[in-house]
């Protein structure tokens, strides 16, 4: 049984913060199909389109029929742990710090056997669920879990190394004025975050939900205005070393394309809040996050971006807004590569119209702020890189995969 995680003590100020080391490992280009699956929490392997063989490790030709048609497909993730090994010594600097480390061979019911990292509650000969995960270096690896959930399962050290669980971590929610910011404060509090800093800009302006926000357990309101470089820098100066998960809840939603908006005042506000806000956060909090990726139980773990799914393809009814979201997505991809050096993940949560005032005229289905918040917390607990929340987001993603041009035209008509 997994030993429940203990709330980490305050850090010994005389102790050096360990440099985040990354596990080694280079995968082929083909194997990035595993990364893509792991990023979204899917279990996908290559399945031969000609002979239906399930293939692992990833290859360019089917070992059974030599076909080159080997798309990644969702595959049954159940299997049996055939053999386990506990590594007690390693020359790899990453694993040396984390010894002992258990790995084993899992025979999948679907066919191939896979070398996987092992959850502490799984024993040789037992049935298992295999998951693809992204490790600290951004590589896809397989992790074998017990067939059924066990108590305190998420506290397993090898599992926690792959996830960004808010439990006992310190979270910054950058904008508490929004319904989504407030829902997230509530959700990460329930998920066991040890403190939730919630940024509030223009404190002289009252806002709906304020009373409730202040009552959420372990919430601390901090001054933070994402449109103001000085404010972001001051907030980081005070709190950055105590932020393990940063969730950027800044939003700026306005209708209209490029022509219908008169002048740039709104566009500037939108970019200030969203694109430059993200840039300010990256510059102010990024360096500390990146340096603290291996800082114990409450190591820096994740930077979360909330992105409209129309970052992926423009929705002209909210055309200028979509363009700004696209800029934020591109920036988030850069940030992901930059933070990976410190073993810190970037989680992008994509969603369609929200059940909020600025989407008032949009017909349902819409995403409730609480549903988005729960999805973000789940994605952190799973260590995902991308999550699509709600019917619209999933629909856009599916249609984009089939025919981007057709989708562009459909959204514009």
């Amino acid at each position: 049984m997994t030993r429940p995680l203990q709330r980490p003590k305050r850090k010994d100020p005389l102790k050096k913060t360990r440099v985040p080391l990354l596990p080694q490992g280079v995968r082929s280009r083909t194997a990035l199909g595993l990364t893509a699956a792991a990023a979204e929490g899917r279990f996908r392997l290559q399945v031969c389109a000609d002979c239906a063989a399930v293939i692992y490790p990833p290859r360019d030709a089917c070992p059974r029929c030599l076909s080159a048609r080997l798309p990644f497909r969702d595959v049954d993730n159940r299997g049996t742990l055939l053999a386990e090994t506990t590594i007690r010594t390693s020359t790899d600097v990453y694993f040396r710090e984390r010894m002992p480390w258990r790995i084993g061979t899992v025979q999948l019911d679907a066919g191939p056997s896979i070398v996987a990292h092992l959850h502490g509650d799984l024993r040789e000969g037992e049935r298992t669920r295999l998951q693809l995960k992204i490790d600290k270096s951004g590589q896809a690896i397989a992790m074998a879990l017990p067939a059924e959930d066990t108590p305190n399962m998420a506290d397993d050290p090898q599992w926690r190394e792959l996830t960004c669980d808010p439990k006992f971590r310190r979270v910054l929610i950058t904008d508490g004025r929004t319904a989504v910011g407030q829902a997230l404060a509530e959700a990460v509090s329930e998920a066991g975050a040890s403190v939730i800093f919630v940024g509030v800009a223009d404190p002289w302006k009252p806002f709906p939900g304020e009373g409730r926000l202040r009552k959420i357990e372990r919430v601390e309101i901090v001054a933070l205005d994402l449109t103001d470089t000085i404010s972001v820098n001051e907030c980081a100066g005070e709190f950055a070393p105590r932020v393990d998960i940063l969730i950027n809840t800044a939003e700026y939603v306005r209708t209209g394309g490029l022509i219908d908006r008169k002048g740039l005042t709104v566009a500037r506000e939108e970019l200030e809040m969203r694109y430059f806000g993200l840039t300010r956060l990256a510059q102010a909090f990024g360096p500390v996050l990146r340096a603290r990726g291996a800082d114990g139980v409450n190591s820096a773990a994740a930077f979360v971006n909330l992105l409209s799914v129309y970052a992926l393809v423009n929705w002209p009814a909210y055309g200028a807004f979509s363009a700004t979201e696209a800029a934020c997505l591109s920036a988030a991809q850069s940030l992901r590569a930059e933070l990976r050096q410190g073993g810190v993940k970037v989680l992008n949560a994509f969603f369609g119209p929200l059940e909020t005032e600025w989407y008032q005229a949009v017909p349902p289905p819409k995403v409730a702020p609480s549903a988005l918040a729960r999805a973000v917390v789940r994605a952190l607990q799973q260590g995902l890189e991308d999550v699509f929340v709600g019917d619209i987001a999933e629909d856009i993603r599916a249609r984009l995969a089939v025919d981007p041009k057709a989708l562009e035209r459909e959204l514009g008509s």
Binding site: P203, K205, D225, T229, T265, E269
Partner: protein, 262 residues
């Protein structure tokens, strides 16, 4: 009479016989700006981006790029700011005659009334009562409304409630009276706006803006230190930035106050 002796004036300033009182708030990102309904255009708050600070971006020098709205912080309103003044001659900050940037001040103290009632409206009776004590307001004078509002900070300063802002200001009649009967130079207030917080509901809405700017008169807003001024005798130096067709500008507002040394 010969030419005025400006050296004597400068000497009096240097000696403190003329005190220079700064009526300006510091321009900073967290100073509140006027808030319009969110679907309308908004005045940009003050922002500052460091260009270099003796570092790799410029080794021996420190400087910033700044941005703000024309009506951010302690600022000047030109007649073109309001629709009623849009067609007047010399109605923008770049065309206002420079001599108009220096004018005497009449300081009317309604701080007691404002403390009791955040929606207090200055009336004609207040002005005539003041004149009984201090004499008739000279033509082309700034009327500065002392409310001590500048001593409040944050939420108390803006005083935003669900039905909008609640801050003191002039009633419509007194603005007309000051402009038409007293040839007012302009109105200066400590609050965000020369009008009361609830002036949207007045008739006409925003009477100070409407009547003053319609007659080519000026406004000063977010002033500080009005409590350091005498009711009469101070001279205001308030020169906005020379922005082409600008409707206003942040500025440094100085009051020259003679001090008698008994």
């Amino acid at each position: 009479m010969g030419a005025p002796d400006l050296l004597a004036f400068a000497g009096a300033v240097a000696a403190g016989d003329i005190e220079v009182v700064d009526l300006t708030h510091t321009l900073s990102p967290d100073f509140p700006t006027i808030v319009m309904p969110p679907e309308l255009g908004q005045c940009a708050p003050f922002r500052m981006e460091e260009v270099s600070r003796y570092d790799e971006r410029g080794s021996a020098w420190y400087w910033n790029n700044i941005s703000m709205g024309e009506h951010t912080g302690t600022h000047f309103d030109a007649p073109v700011h309001w629709i009623s003044g849009k067609d007047l001659a010399n109605n923008s900050v770049d065309t206002i005659p420079a001599a108009n940037f220096i004018a005497p001040a009449a300081v009317i103290d309604i701080s007691r009334q404002s403390a009791a009632n955040a929606d207090y409206e200055l009336t004609v009776a207040d002005v005539t009562a003041w004149e009984k004590q201090h004499g008739r307001i000279p033509p082309r004078s700034w009327v500065l409304l002392r409310t001590d509002w500048s001593k409040k900070i944050g939420r108390d300063y803006v005083n935003m409630r669900e039905d909008g802002q609640h801050t003191p200001g002039p009633c419509p009649e007194v603005v007309r009276f000051l402009v038409e009967e007293r040839d007012l130079h302009g109105l200066g207030t400590e609050t965000i706006g020369t009008d009361a917080g609830q002036a949207f509901h007045f008739n006409p809405p925003y009477p100070a803006h409407y009547y003053m700017h319609g007659k080519g008169r000026y406004g000063l807003q977010c002033l500080a230190n009005l409590d350091l001024l005498p009711p009469t005798g101070a001279v205001i130096v308030a020169a906005p930035l020379k922005i082409r067709r600008g409707s206003g500008s942040p500025l440094r507002v100085l009051a020259l106050v003679p001090r008698s040394h008994a």
